[in-house]
Amino acid sequence: AQTVTQSQPEMSVQEAETVTLSCTYDTSESDYYLFWYKQPPSRQMILVIRQEAYKQQNATENRFSVNFQKAAKSFSLKISDSQLGDAAMYFCAYNWPQGGSEKLVFGKGTKLTVNP
């Protein structure tokens, strides 16, 4: 079964600094999708970024970028120029719809604190 591991329960960063959140996953598939979702205190799940495994280029969305290392099964999220509004739980997720299942498998999350 596919699993997603986030080894950092909590992280903190100073406002305007850069922080990297780690995620590793386990799969025997070669074509799949990876996601980072943000969950602020309101608890809504908000998509931050998405990566297709067949793409070698790392996905970026404004201040958010990923470092996708397929061979190492690693998918870290880098937040540049951190803002107070970035404070949230961040969940890494995986799915493999090509195999017939769209279900997202989530990690346990990393709580990010942004210090002013």
Partner: protein
């Protein structure tokens, strides 16, 4: 920008009662999902729904749970006889295709007393 909506935002119920959680997916989406998150834990998949039938369900989704798309816009999750351990945040999500991104609603916080 279109978004998934869910009602109610909070629900408190007595153990053994039936609850119905409602979701309105993004209008042109065809794939619908329910997830739940027990407080302090990770988000867990419950069920996926496409073409008016369940396409996949998890072990959590037992006979006490059911889903329905009663009309062209709503997607509901029914828990027939709630248990204390059903207390959680329930998220609805939808996507435009099997390989498309799933967009989540704001969640319904269910408390079973």
């Amino acid at each position: 920008e279109p978004e998934v909506t869910q009602t109610p935002s909070h629900q408190v119920t007595q153990m053994g009662q039936e609850v119905i959680l409602r979701c309105v997916p993004i209008s042109n989406h065809l794939y619908f999902y329910w997830y739940r998150q027990i407080l302090g834990q990770k988000v867990e998949f419950l069920v996926s729904f496409y073409n008016n039938e369940i396409s996949e369900k998890s072990e959590i989704f037992d006979d006490q749970f059911s889903v329905e798309r009663p009309d062209g816009s709503n997607f509901t999750l029914k828990i027939r006889s709630t248990k204390l351990e059903d207390s959680a945040m329930y998220f609805c999500a939808s996507s435009g295709g099997r390989e498309e991104t799933q967009y989540f609603g704001p969640g319904t916080r269910l408390l079973v007393l």
